[in-house]
Each structure stands twice: as C-alpha cells, then as structure tokens.
C-alpha cells in the first residue's frame, strides 16, 4: 500500500493521527496547526499588547514547558513584543516538586528567560508535605489550588509583570465546566470558560492553551524533544474530580471532539442576570489584602484552620461555625504577609489611557 499523504499539505507522508480532529497529518503540519491555533486563541482574545511583561507559570511539567516553548516561538514569529519570565511555585512536595524545579531551571537556560521561584513555605509557613501530614489525602488539592493561585499572583507582583499565562489545557477546562455544573458552582462556571480573567486590582491571568488537547501537548513535547518532568503529582485528586476526569476520557474516546464541544457549550451560556445579582461582590481580604468574596479570603481561612489544628474549618460551614464558637482568632498564629501590589497606575485610568505601540 502506498504511504498515506498528509491531508493538510498533501505532499509529506502522514505521520500521526491528530487527537483533536482525527486527521492523518505529517509532523511539520502538526507543529504548524498546533502553534497557529494557539496564536489564533491569543489574537482572538486580544490577550497581549506590545511591551507587556508576561510571566509563564512554570512547573516543569509538560503543559507549562510546551507553553514556554510555544510562547517564545510565537513571540518571535508574530513579533508580539512581549518580555517573558518563568514563574515557579514550590509547593514543598518531596520527590516531586524538588525534582521538577530542576527541570524548570534547565528550561531557564534553554529558553533564556528570567526565573523566579516562590515557595509555600516562605509565603504561608506550610509546605504541602506538612499540610498533607495534617489534613490527610482528602481535600489536599483544595489547599494546593487555593494557595497556588495566590502564590502566583504574589510572585508576579514581585517580578513586576502584569500578566500570568498558565498551562491549563482544553481537557482541564472541559473537566472544570462539567465539575462546576455537577456541584452547582455557578460563580466558577461563569468564570471558567474565560480565556482571561482579572480581579479588581490583581494581575491578569490567561490560558493560551484553552483549546489545546492534552494529548497534543504531549505529542508536541515528544516530537520537539522538549525537556520536561513527566511524573504526576504524588497527591492524587479528590475522588469526585477523579470521576469527572474518567468520564471526560470516556467521552473523548467515544468522540474526540467532545472536549472542544464541551468548551463550546460553556462559552454559549452564561449565568442569568437575576442569579448574578445575588452573588457576592468582590472585596479585599481584611487580613492579607488579596481579592476575596468574603471578609477573609479562602487562603487565609484555610491557613487559620491549619494553624488552629482544625483544617476542616476552611472546608465546611459546619466546621467553620464550630471553630468560631471556640473563640476569636488567636494573636500568635502565622498569617500571610499583606499583599501590596505595586500599582502600575490607577487601574481605572490604565484602561482608558493606552500608550500606542
């Protein structure tokens, strides 16, 4: 049988079946469509303007390694005019993060980008290992997720950048849409399909890989021989999310477009106005100054629970009431340093006055 030709260029031999479309294409066409789709995502959402400083949330894993490589490639190819940084969070997970940070340090050399590492230990006084020792393996991802989000923002403020890009891929987003529907989290459902989010005074965050399939990211890293750390986090996700993830894999196996179809669904609907009106307004945390929908932000709530030996109090209403009944917050517990984002100008003004490129 004659070798099958790539359906895109119709000249080279087809080397792979593209996970997203099922098309049989050649390797060069794969690189090209993968990169161009990310470029389309960036352009369509007007993510950057020339001169922006952008931190890439880098973990050493496949998503962020490929993201760093593709951001560098597109920045040069399409002359975005971005100044790129690597920003890593050290959660303090022995045998996992310490090794993956070595990969990030090599990436810093390979991609020639400045690197900043910020640890949970220096910010919160707790490593993930210490947290898991107290809370066990249930809910550990809750702590990790809340703490990482705030740590990234604080790291970005230290770097003086105005934008963080993260390696969230299409699979992550589709899974999050399903999760938010199943657990009735309307506030997050409204936000999770946005490519770019920005709080009142926090740093812009966006997801250039919003439409990139996890399988294609792996494939890209493999064919480009990128240096990444392939071990999964040793602390596995909670059972409920595990079910959602397995379901999504089944859907993808039945029809590969399912991942993109779920994201399309998520973009097609929005929360009804009358429901939005009942949602909490954004404020800043009394204790640490980070954006929050309550007087205390989620990270401070979780941290207080850890410090007072009642990790549950950050997770359920009932445990929280119980802790409150035990008395006011003691003076001597560790808290998160106050968040002083050096304002790059009046946030209201910086939107109105845009210096032409």
């Amino acid at each position: 049988m004659a070798p099958k030709l790539c359906v895109l260029c119709e000249t080279a031999k087809a080397m792979l079946r593209r996970p997203k479309t099922g098309q049989q294409i050649c390797r060069d066409c794969f690189f090209y469509v993968f990169e161009t789709e990310v470029h389309n995502t960036i352009v369509e959402a007007k993510l950057f303007k020339s001169g922006d400083s952008v931190a890439i949330g880098a973990s050493g894993g496949k998503d962020s390694t490929v993201l760093a490589y593709v951001m560098k490639t597109l920045n040069e190819r399409y002359k975005y005019g971005l100044e790129l940084f690597l920003l890593s969070i050290d959660e303090g997970i022995t045998g996992y993060r310490d090794d993956s940070l070595e990969t990030v340090k090599r990436n810093q050399q390979q991609y020639d980008m400045p690197l900043k590492i910020l640890s949970y230990d220096e910010l919160y006084g707790w490593t993930m290992d210490a947290i898991v020792a107290q809370v066990g393996r249930k809910n550990n991802c809750t702590f990790c997720g809340v703490f990482r989000r705030q740590a990234l923002d604080r790291g970005a403020a230290m770097l003086g950048v105005d934008h963080i890009v993260t390696g969230h891929n299409a699979d992550d987003i589709a899974e999050t849409i399903l999760m938010n529907i199943m657990r009735g989290d309307i506030a997050r459902l409204g936000r999770c399909t946005a490519i770019c989010t920005q709080g009142e005074d926090t740093i812009k965050r966006s997801k250039p890989f919003k439409y990139a399939y996890e399988k294609e990211i792996v494939m890209y890293a493999y064919f480009k021989k990128l240096d990444y750390f392939s071990t999964e986090c040793i602390y596995s996700p909670d059972a409920y999310r595990g079910h959602a993830r397995a379901f999504l894999k089944d859907l993808e196996a039945a029809r590969p477009s399912a991942i993109i179809d779920i994201i399309h669904s998520g973009e097609a609907f929005e929360v009804k106005e009358e429901v939005k009106a009942t949602q909490h307004v954004q404020q800043t945390c009394q204790r640490c100054g980070y954006m929050s929908s309550n007087p205390l932000c989620k990270a401070c709530t979780l941290l207080e629970g850890l410090e007072r030996g009642s990790a549950e109090s950050g997770l359920t209403e009932r445990a929280r009431k119980k802790l409150e009944a035990e008395g006011p917050t003691p003076e001597n517990i560790r808290t998160i340093p106050f968040f002083n984002k050096t304002p790059s100008g009046n946030p209201g003004l910086s939107i109105a006055v845009e210096i032409p490129a």
Partner: protein
C-alpha cells in the same frame, strides 16, 4: 494545570458524601407514620408521598398552562389549545400519563390548595402519541399494541395517535400534518464539512429505507443516538401543531433531564440548554400564521426513584425503556451510566445539575432555526470551528503565516478556493453540525453524498426564504431554487 492537573481545585471539598437521610425515620410531613421512602434526605410515608408528587407535577406544569402568567392568576387554568402527550411506554411517560389522568381527568381526586378552582381539564382534548421505532430498534418490535393497550386502559379520556419514526421521511405524513408540499428529491452531501444539499435523480425509496439510510450515514454511535432523539422530538412538535395542541408534555424525570443536560453539553449543545428543560417552538408558516407549541417536562422535579414508586404503588404497567444505545461509543449512553453511577454515592448530583442549568441562559438571541433539530442557531459557529481546529489550509485567516515547510504565499495551499460556508452548515446548530461532521477513531469512515433528509429539511430547502435568498421564484424552477446548495451534480 501542569503541576497536579487540578485547576480551581479549591471547591472539590463541597461535594462531600451525606448520610442517606437526616434524623428520624418518621415521615417529615405528617410526623406520625413511619416513613416508606427517602427523597433528598427527607423521609415520607406512603400516604404523604402521593400528594407530594402530584404537587411537584402541578407546580412545574401549571404556571405554563395559560398563555401568560397573569391570566392564570385571574381565571384559573385554561390552555389555548389541546394537549399532546409524547408516550414511549417507559417509566417517565407512564407516570406522566397517570398524573395527567388523575389530576385533570378524574376531578374528584383533586387535592386541596388547588390552583384550578373551576376544576376540569384545562385542555379541550388530550391526545397521546407514541412513535414506533421498530424499524431501527428491533427490540421494540411488536410493542406498539401493548402501548396502545396501556393508553386505552384509561378509557376514552385519551385519544391515541400512533406514529412511526420513518414518518420523518414520508411526504404523506408531512402533508397530513399540514406541511407545505415540496417536489424536489434532495439529498445531503457530507463529503465536505460545509455540507451541501443536492438533487437526487429520484427519491422513490420507501420511508423506512430512507430512515435506515439516514441512520447508517451518521458517522458515530453518538450521532445515531442523538439523531433518533431529534427525529422523535421534531415529529412530536409537528404532530402537536397538527392536533391543534398548545402544549406537548414529555415524561422526562429529574434524572433523565440531568442526563440529557450533561449529554447535550458534551455534544456542544450548550446554546440550547434552556430548551433541554422547556421550549417554545413554532412552525414558522410561510403565510405568517405561526402556530406555537409549548414543550413542558412536568416531571423534571421528580426523580427516577419517585417515578418507580409511583408506578409500583399505583400498579401501572411500564412497557420498558427501549432507547438506542451505542454503548461505550455513545455519549448519551456513557452519560447515563456516569450519572446513574454517581447518584449512588453523591445523591445530590442529579438535582445539582438541573438546578445549575436552570440558572443559565444563552448569551445572544437568534432568529435562525436549525434545519435538522429546529432549535436556535448561534451565529459565527463555522468561523469559531475554523479558528479552534484547523482542518484545511483554505480556512487560514489573512494574517496567518503560511506553513514554513511549504513554499506557499498568503497562507493558502495549492487549492485556493476561498473560505466559504455552505448554506447548510450555516443553518445548522453547533450540535447538529458536529453530529454530521465529527468522527470517532473507530467510526463510520464512509462519506456520502446522497443521504435522505427528513421532510421538514426538504420542505425548508424548497420553501424557506433564508435558503432561497429571499426572492420569490417559480415553484417549478427547480434548478434556481436550490442552486446555492448544489455542487456540480456530476461529481
């Protein structure tokens, strides 16, 4: 994300397991009798169960019986037309039929706190339609007469109306529901993702072989399941119009609704999330005499478990649920297994899904109706698809650099046909377009160009203004009428 693949993980903790029921085993309603059933953590006795379920049924349905809400408050319940009930013989529709009969057609059994003080039935006539799917599902062969038996066991209160799935391809049926005549044998071409309608030399095939050819050309198991579902729904809507029904009721339970919501979202149907629960559909008559049908699912607050008990305690005959299942290759079957399995450990999941989706709406409204499913079509779908997944270098935008490994100019390959969305693709909803174009690794690879199309699609391609460029043309000017959809017929 990269580190633990776990974005927004902070809310995982909200989904904790709860005990099956709270506090005591006594009925929460009468507080005296021992409970027989646990519904969402609350215990009920058998005597309190019946009024609870009929109240939920009425609370869901009755605000939508009168054409507008304020009419309802002043005058009691009065619909503007007849009632059509879609009856499959499965659990939900069996309970629905029973509830309609007990609530509106046997007035002595009505309860206190009645929202319909005048009593009686809000609809002049109640028609029960069953769609025989035996030409694609061999399991249901011979069941039609058992189903007729169930309907007729209620006496003369219901008028029974049998339909067949292949009616969707039958001009005789189309005429019988008042559909405008069409004369041009037309087939669907899915070789190209834009999709085209083209003339066929003849359409002398029988409706059932047309149906089977249609089903066989759907590229995935998922598409077959949702294709059948869409045919059933549209058949019922046109039947409702032809029986002068103002309302079409379906026996979708809370459990089935949650399953169909997740399944629809997983197939790209997010834009019609409202319609999954309830919809207003009208037949868009050429002469401006639109007839509107309100499709309501009055059991959408009642779970499968409650339906089972209602049927059991009322000694109802459930013929069984015979729906198409493509197993592990079928998204709706996968979703059903997933939700039913999850409900065992996390009983609040099913109601959480329905509640969440009830808080959602679509971002923009539209006037375009999908050719196949007759639901609203969002604009810009094809452009979105081309940007998100590049399937051809013809679709590249003007500012995109051409592939570096190819010596081309201007970002287009040797085949420089301009990007152009065919009129079929642009008149399909995202979900239907995906149904026809999305393939699975194992799926049906054969692309076809002479697929029979349902009568409403054929009729609209003949008659509808937006498909014939808004100009009045001679009915028999065949070539002109559909030239926009035609590829070179010789191809």
């Amino acid at each position: 994300m990269s580190s633990c693949g776990n974005p927004n993980a902070e809310a995982d903790a909200l989904m904790t397991r709860r005990p099956k029921y709270d506090r005591s085993k006594a009925c929460v309603k009468c507080k005296s009798k021992t409970g027989n059933i646990v519904i969402r953590h609350a215990v009920y006795c058998k005597d309190c169960f019946f009024p609870l379920i009929s109240l939920r049924f009425r609370r869901t349905l009755e605000p939508h019986v009168n054409p507008t809400l304020d009419l309802h408050r002043r005058k009691g319940l009065k619909a503007s037309g007849n009632l059509l009930i879609g009856f499959s013989g499965g659990l939900g529709s069996t309970v629905l039929l029973d509830l309609v009969q007990k609530t509106y057609l046997a007035p002595r059994e009505r309860q206190d706190g009645d929202q319909n003080p005048n009593g009686g039935c809000p609809w002049p006539k109640v028609v029960v339609a069953h769609i025989d799917t035996s030409s694609v599902l061999t399991e249901v062969q011979g069941e039609s007469c058992r189903i007729r038996g169930v309907v007729e066991s209620y006496g003369a209160v219901f008028e029974y109306l049998p339909l067949r799935l292949e009616d969707a391809f039958d001009q005789k049926w189309w005429r019988s529901v008042g559909g405008p005549d069409f004369v041009h044998p037309t087939g669907l071409d899915i070789i190209n993702e834009d999709m085209f309608l083209k003339l066929l030399s003849s359409n002398r095939t029988s409706p059932s072989s047309a149906l089977n050819a249609y089903i066989a050309s759907l590229p995935t198991q998922t598409a077959v399941a949702s294709g059948i579902q869409a045919l059933v729904r549209v058949l019922l809507l046109y039947t409702a119009v032809s029986t002068h029904a103002s309302h079409l009721l379906l026996g979708t339970s809370l459990t089935s609704l949650s399953i169909s919501l997740i399944s629809s979202i997983s197939q790209g149907g997010g834009y019609s999330i409202k319609e999954e629960a309830q919809e207003e559909w009208s037949d868009n008559n050429e002469d401006g005499t639109d007839r509107t049908v309100r499709l309501v699912r009055p059991l959408r607050e009642v779970g499968t478990k409650e339906c089972t008990l209602w049927a059991w305690w009322n000694d109802l005959t459930v013929i069984g649920k015979h729906r198409y299942s493509g197993g592990r290759q079928d998204i709706s079957a996968l979703t059903r297994d997933f939700i039913v399995g999850l409900e065992k450990d996390y009983p609040s999941t099913v109601s959480a899904i329905a509640r969440t989706c009830n808080k959602l709406t679509t971002k923009e409204s539209t006037n375009t109706k999908c050719l196949f499913c007759e639901r609203p079509v969002q604009s810009g779908i094809q452009e979105w698809k081309h940007k998100i997944s590049i399937r051809s270098y013809r679709d590249l935008g003007p500012d995109i650099m051409s592939p570096p490994h190819m010596n081309l100019e201007g970002g287009s390959s040797g085949d420089s046909r301009p990007t152009h969305t065919g009129p079929v693709a642009s008149n399909l909803c995202y979900a239907c377009h995906t149904t026809w174009t999305s393939r699975s690794i194992r799926g049906n690879a054969a692309s076809q160009n002479d697929i029979p199309i349902p009568v409403w699609v054929a009729s609209r391609s003949d008659h509808h203004n937006d498909l014939r460029n808004g100009r009045k043309v001679e009915e028999n000017d065949l070539q002109y009428l559909i030239k926009d959809f035609l590829l070179d017929s010789g191809s």
